[in-house]
Each structure stands twice: as structure tokens, then as C-alpha cells.
Symmetry: C2
Subunit: 134 residues, 2 copies
Amino acid sequence: MEKKQNYSRKREAILKAIQGTTCHPTAEWVYQKLKPEYPDLSLGTVYRNIAQFKNDGTIISVGTVNGQERYDGNIQPHTHFVCSCCGAVIDIPGNFISLDANVEIAERYHLRIDSSEVLFHGICSNCLQRQKPL
Amino acid sequence: MEKKQNYSRKREAILKAIQGTTCHPTAEWVYQKLKPEYPDLSLGTVYRNIAQFKNDGTIISVGTVNGQERYDGNIQPHTHFVCSCCGAVIDIPGNFISLDANVEIAERYHLRIDSSEVLFHGICSNCLQRQKPL
DNA sequence: TCAATAATAGTAATCATTCTTGTTTCTGTT
DNA sequence: AACAGAAACAAGAATGATTACTATTATTGA
């Protein structure tokens, strides 16, 4: 019952672009990145394929920063830091949530937990440097 | 140097509406909630005051669910569960992140951490019930 | 009461994302 | 290789949440 999926060079390029960076890009970033090599690439294509990757679990969403959704090609459990100054999303190795906690919470609240996410907010080292003179 | 702030009945009502529910409402929800009592309320006013509350730290944002930002009047550290089926955001008591972790990460990566957030994704008990027949 | 200024309604503008339509690309089969 | 059906696409229109603008109204301190 699953839809057949044809090969597409652009789809592959979009995935590679997301997996090949740690900047947790937006759809627009991917579009701009690939535009030189694929001049007839359409932003809609980027969105459409990203939606598919998300659905397949090939990539994950890191959430919305300044109104734009950010994606991550690294699907290993890890943690993110979001700079409230420049909007950068930075990887922090480590999970910080025990598997036990997941199970316990799921049971206590009668929920099914599919994933957990830890997010830190603050100012990144770059922005701290820049602010020093103030 | 701080701007003077005049009293506004609508602003108070908006804050009370957000603080008086645990549903982590959207701006639209607040607007619909208050519309009967304030027939000339404007959606822009809701957004403008929410932005102010967020800035003051009176409320927090829980992130974006299905394209709409969700707010929380409870600023005590606690945890959220987001139902990927119905979009409900549910409070889970407890923080799950140690203060030590914050300090350690901040030092190791030369960051300033202002807040941390734990988010669970899955299916809530209501949606699980509804799906049972399948 | 009165002037200064903050807050608002209503509406227009913005911007990320999704949808639509007609065309092009894949793929399996002759 | 040529063909047919399905999948993917570009380009642009449509949508929907949020923000900005402008003329009016409310609040405040004197």
C-alpha cells in the first residue's frame, strides 16, 4: 500500500545539503545553497521534500526560530542550544533525559512518548564576544 | 530610560486569560475567549500585549505547534508534552535537567544559558483512546 | 479640565509555507 | 530505443499567522 518513490537528483541533493551541515538550516538556506548548481530548483520542491524526509524520519525538526523552521540531518539523540541573539542552533552532545524517565512519565500520564528533546536558550559565544565592549 | 506603561483593561484581561488556563493557548484562542466580553477587541492587541509579556518574562513561549505559537502563564520550571495527533500541550511536573548540567555546559561551550526546556513528543491519552478501534 | 502620550481598532502589509496546474522526468515494459 | 503511466517538478497563486501603520480613544499627571 506504500507509494512508489522515484529517484530524483534534486531530492538527493536536498538531503545531502541538510545532512552535510551542522547549522540546522531553514528551507530557504537549502534553497540558496543548491540554487547555483540547480538553477531551476524551486523553493516548493525544497519544502515538499523536507516534509517527506521528516515524515520518513530521515531528518528531524529542531523547532521554529524567528518564524522559520529549522531542520537537522543528525537523528541521533542529542541536545540543542538556541542563541536568542543571532538565532544560531548549536549541537550539544548528550541526551540528559534518562530512558527510565520516558517510561515512567508515559505510564503515569497514560501517554505514548515517541521522542524527547532538550533545548537550552541563551547567548552563544560569538554573540557574547561581540557584546563585550558594551 | 524605560517606557512608561499605562494601565489597560484589555491587557489585564489578556494576561489573566493566559494565566487562567493550562491549555497553553494561541493568540487566536485568547482573542476568541475575550471577544464576547470585549467585542471591540482586536487581534493585533492580543499579539502586541503577548509580545510585551514575553519580553517582560511574565509569560513564556512553549514553541510553535502546527504553525501557531503557544504560550504559558506558568513560568515555574516544568516540562511539556506535545501530542503530535491533536496538538495538545500538556504540563508534566518536574524539570529533568540538573542545574549542574546548565553550569557545566555553559562553561564547556563558553555560552550563557538563560533557560532550559524539556519537551516530549508522542500521543496523548485522549488520542490513544480514540485510536483504539483501529 | 487639559495636554501629552500610551493603547487601541481596523486594516493593510509581510513573510513562511502550502497548494495548484501544466510540464518534465523516471521507470518498467515492449 | 520508444512508450505509457506515475512521480517530481517549476512557477506562481493562495493561505494563514504575525506585524506594521494610521487615525482614534483612553489614561495619567498637573
